[in-house]
């Protein structure tokens, strides 16, 4: 049982402030993913929670203790690293037991905990091997085991799957999720730049950019109701289409007006009134655009087709802008073909062009 709270955290390297005024509250037992492009400060945040980086201001609370100035070992955390970071000169058993030996845990207890972790991760038969004699997947399992034996409530993962090949990554991703469920009440904080990992694993995910948390919510909300253009553009692949224009009031409803077309917004739920009114961006995900030969209001020309098996991505030219469509894989298209498209209103995302915030 341990919640994690970061309060007004500031971390700087020399004169460079990587994080400032950062706040995040993670509930006990929650699986939280920190997602963002490289250099956004997500690993810095994780390392600060672990106690491997000193905070220049602010506080970090784990459970009901203020651990801001405590040593990593006293924080009740276990950590898994991208490069596994297994001690190369020790066997798997030695790696798993190292932390316990350092803490002076009695031998029978060490053996009991190691066996429990090994069983959970299916590495019982590797105990006498050195890390160099293991495959990537086995190494990462051992690294997870090393965090598990510490018998802690908070687990920190720093891009643990990035060094693995695609198939193994998918496999271990599922295992991690299962592990979280089997452990019951463990809080997990997981850093990644892979949005698929974030969307699949997270109970809640925090999208970070330039040292700031842009949005902290469930994957579903983040995907379907992104808080700003950064989140909208970063999450989802191919990325969301953005069309520039402005929001105008017509009769008793609003409409999005651009140089090329008018899109009624009668059923759109504005969160922020209508913004300043001067500039707006319409965002729509590639899979939400419909082809409607009869009632389609937007005419687009096919420029490029990317068949991907299960789906086909079609890049079209809508007047002067390029938009992507994600469609069923069994349809075929030809370049220069004209498509008539509709943008379902409830699937639209409106943003203020100046601030990037959701309207």
């Amino acid at each position: 049982m341990a919640s994690v709270s970061v309060k007004n955290l500031e971390v700087s390297f020399g004169s460079l402030k990587v994080l400032r005024e950062l706040n995040i509250d993670i509930r006990s037992g929650e699986f939280v993913v920190l997602l963002g492009p490289s250099g956004c400060g997500k690993s810095t945040l994780l390392n600060s929670i672990a106690g491997l980086l000193d905070a220049s201001a602010g506080q970090i609370w784990i459970g009901d203790r203020n651990v801001t100035w405590e040593e990593p070992k006293d924080r009740g955390i276990g950590m898994v690293f991208q490069s596994y970071a297994l001690y190369p000169r020790m066997t798997v058993e030695g790696n798993l037991s190292f932390g316990l030996r350092m803490a002076g845990v009695p031998k029978p207890e060490i053996a009991r905990r190691i066996n429990a972790a090994a069983e959970l991760l299916h590495i019982e038969n590797l105990m006498k091997r050195r890390p160099s004699e293991l495959s990537g997947g086995q190494r990462q399992r051992v690294a997870i085991g090393r965090a598990l034996v510490r018998d802690v409530n908070v687990f920190l993962f720093d891009e643990p799957l990035s060094n693995l090949d695609a198939a193994l990554r998918t496999e271990l991703r599922v295992e991690l999720k299962r592990l979280h469920r089997e452990l019951g009440n463990s809080t997990m904080i997981y850093v990644t730049h892979d949005q698929v990992e974030a969307l699949t694993l997270a109970d809640r995910m925090a999208v970070m950019h330039r040292g700031l948390i842009q949005q902290f919510d469930t994957p579903r909300t983040i995907y379907h109701h992104p808080a700003n253009t950064f989140v909208a553009g970063f999450v989802g692949s191919p990325r969301m289409n953005f069309l520039k224009g402005r929001v105008e009031q017509r009769a008793n409803s609003f409409a999005f007006v651009s140089d090329q077309f008018v899109q009624p917004l009668a059923q759109y739920n504005f969160v922020n009134a209508t913004g300043s009114g001067d500039g707006a961006e319409l965002g729509i995900r590639p899979e939400h655009i419909r082809i409607d030969p009869d009632q389609g209001t937007h005419e687009a020309t096919v420029e490029l087709v990317e068949p991907m098996g299960a789906e086909t991505v079609v890049w079209c030219r809508l007047k002067k802008q390029t938009i992507g469509l994600r469609l069923e894989g069994d349809q075929s298209f030809e370049t220069q073909q004209t498509l008539r498209l509709t943008f379902p209103e409830q699937r639209l995302n409106m943003f203020d062009s100046n601030t990037g915030d959701r309207l």
Partner: protein, 301 residues
Amino acid sequence: MTAIAAHETVLEASGPRPRQVSAARIGVYAFLITAALFFALPLYVMLVTSLKGMPEVRLGQIFAFPSAPTFEPWIKAWSTACTGRTCEGLTPGFLNSVKITVPSVIISIIAAALNGYALSFWKFRGANFFFGLLIFGAFVPYQVVIFPLIIFMREVGLFATLPGIIIVHTIFGMPILTLLYRNYFSALPEELFKAARVDGAGFWRIFFYVIMPMSVPITIVAIILQVTGIWNDFLFGIVFAGRENLPMTVQLNNIVQTTTGIREHNVNMAATILAAAVPLAVYFISGRWFVRGIAAGAVKG
């Protein structure tokens, strides 16, 4: 398949086949062999001379093989040759060199490994400046510091003592060894260090349980550098060791430079080879590691 192969007869590469032996190759080998002979020649002369009796040495045929090989000069060089007033051969010098080299090597390597470890993993404010200062020490000519160091040693009461010479060797080994260790450590993944911290190991435990076990290759290199360097040292030995602890190099010089009586070239040669035996053996046994260490120190800045 077979039909096609039969039809197309044999496929051959076009153009002339690259020749195994070219003129350039022969030239390279000729040069290498000549150079090797050139550098091996003095050693050959020393060996054959050391195996000759004095009458044969006087003939002056330095390249001739000894007519009646004898180990007499070797025995004399080792145990009875005179240095000044004492006539004990190189034995005391050898023992002194061992007494100086072994502790100096051990202490300097432990200190340098700790330096490198602290500089690469426990970065403190001004660590880089400190490291720069240390490296600068490698470029200070020894002549400049010898006199101040003599005074310092005298003041602390260590001048002309065994601990004194050991301290001097440790100090002068520090810049290059620290550079070696720091560069090696900075190539180790930092996450390993972080993992050990999360596991609850502190400064010393990380050093002994995690870092040092991974440092075997670089430690071998450091041992080679220090053993050969300290064993071959003449200057510090003659200045700081004191009469009782003169190393082998100094005694060799005393044997060779003795001006009374006849010059026993065969004994001098034998003594020289004996004095050079330890570094020679180290080079031969560990040449591979030595090259690796030089490269490790040179490539990464």
